[in-house]
Amino acid sequence: MSQPTDVSRRAAVLGAAASGALLWAGGEGARAQAAKPSELRIGITTFLSGPASVFGVPSRQAAELLIEQINRAGGIGGVPLRAFFVDEAPGADHLVGEYRRLVQNENVQVVFASISSGSCLACTPLSTEMRKTTLLWDCGTQRVFEEGKHPYAFRTQGYGTPEVLAPLLYLLKHKPDFRTLAVINQDYAWGRDSWELWKAGMDALKPGVRVVAEMFPRFNSTDFSTEITRLLATRPDVVLSTSWGGELVTLVRQATERRLFERSLFVLPVAEASMQSLGRTMPAGHIIGARGDHWNNHPKPKNPEAMKRFVDGYRQRFNEYPIYPCHHMAQAFSALQAAYAKAIAAKGGGWPNDAELADAFRGLTFDTPTSTITLREDGQGLEDQLVGLSSQGERFPFAVPRDMVIFPAAMVSTPVGQKSVDWLKSLKPDILAQVPAPIAG
């Protein structure tokens, strides 16, 4: 009877010793970073569960695809990439622990942080504290760079302000005579923030619009029929919704079925990611945006070859079109490649340390298939915004924009050092004159 106890006890002691040694090694590793590592480790936080995994999982797929492609081409500076994925869903308190683990235990050289704004706000201070370059690869909150300085954090795509202002300008051009508007946004930070930004801009550019309903249904709602009835009854000229994911799909389906789209013009700044799910259900003639300029039918992509390669590669592997988080992920990788190239060149072929890597990102300009993005001195990336009217055609089994306007990033982004809401309030109607002409598409 004593034998099994002995065995299990020894096993326990050995196990403890082994894990202790591992921990020890981990701790040592964090302190001394080798000159040129055998692999370039990247921590990637994204949603792998919960409702936002509709963005997280495709972006993870994109990351895996990109890493394969980059590694096949010899990695970055001859070093192969390796990703460590972390689920954002358990919440910010868990995520900050995971961030530490990525840096201190997995020894990642760079972290790609977060879809959720809350996650980004929690992670950026850690980037400063741990001096670890962190690319905010998808989150949109304007608060990050407007409320603090983060020398190690860079956002490789646009953010809330341009993503809201561009559709607003498009609306003012397309239907300048609207008098009433209703908003139905998800009840969480993005839903609230985007409405605050929109309202500030709208009141400055077209004072006197009556807001007939402000609705913020519970995040992750599955039914909007009551809200739709109210919208049908109040008959606003314009319905704004920055919702996304399953909620946007449900909203559009229920609203189409009840012909709300025939009564009101919809403005859907985050529509792109839901168009595939909606397919032919999406009605034509409504304003749709993509949190960037990477619509599949971009009228004049800078590098059509690269665009086709990425889209086709993704489709081939995953049997669906990439959505905007996939493009944002690709932008982060593009920025990473460009920054390492710049830093290695600056060091005469040597491998950059954390500070040198961060320096390389400041002011960096990198390519995307559709355009180029420049990172400003505050870390914010300048990404163009492409907005248009929904249309169904032969080329895609889902809606894409027509009458597209490409808003230059600098035109719709808050200048460095200003707060978005204040800046939007200060806008003058003459900004409308700068809006480029629509391209039929």
Binding site: W24, G91, D93, V96, G97, L121, A122, P125, R143
Partner: protein, 310 residues
Amino acid sequence: MSRRAEALLALGGIAALVFTAWAAPWLRFVLTVALAKGLAVLGILLLLRAGQVSFGHAMFLALGAYTVAFAAPAVPETLVLLPAAALLAGGAGLLIGLFVVRYRDIFFGMLNLALSMVFYSVLEKFYAVTKGTDGIRMPNLSVAGVEPGSEAQGWIMFSLALGLALLCAVGVRAYLGSPMGQALAGIKTRETRLEFLGVPARRVLLFAYVLSAMMGGIAGALIAMTSRHVTPQLAYWTSSGELIFIGILGGAGSALGPFLGAVAFELVRVYAAAAVADAWQMILGGVLLAVILFAPGGLVGILSRRRRQA
């Protein structure tokens, strides 16, 4: 478990925690959070003694965390914020307790759940004040007037959590052995008799409820100070479920159980998340299922059985 065995286990546990925190700095953070959660679970354990399952206890944790987050810009002092969070949570516990101790079993559980969901909604809805789901970012805090560096801060939070855990565990142990604690267990088996002994059962439960709310508040404050970011997620019903989960995982039979459970829970979660980032929930669920089916006494139960066999 005998008194000596428990003391030995506690000492061994402390040594292991300190060693791990020293050897792997990233785990020090995880362990601090685990100890804090253990504190909240210790509070839940009190109510479990009375046979009552609070399915909304995360509200006190969130209350403690938000107290700290709101007060920190004005009073960035750890040693002021911690007691403030405990007091506020205790006060809320008293108010809510006066209402919920009149109910038992599913009604007790569900009322707590309902109130926690109301609190969660308030945190989420009053965006202008609470920043909604983005949550609130906390400034650096001082400890006794000194603002430590980030490494020192980490150790201070770890030690605070460990010290408070130890203090509360000893306190709870004494409390559960006292007439009041034993009367609490009497609520579970024969509440009628308690009344016929001249003991106001509701007041006995209320006392425990306030205590457990305070421990929840302290836990929330520690978590807020450690992670430096608070979100409404802390109050969501799944967080409350998680706390009960930890209680059962550790074993409800000993004041050490919650901490054992919390450390095990956080480690399993961290490693499960690292190994299979998109199926960690399933792993945790599987662990929970296995514990309930095969070791309903939790980790403490397993350990004490081991000792008895050896």
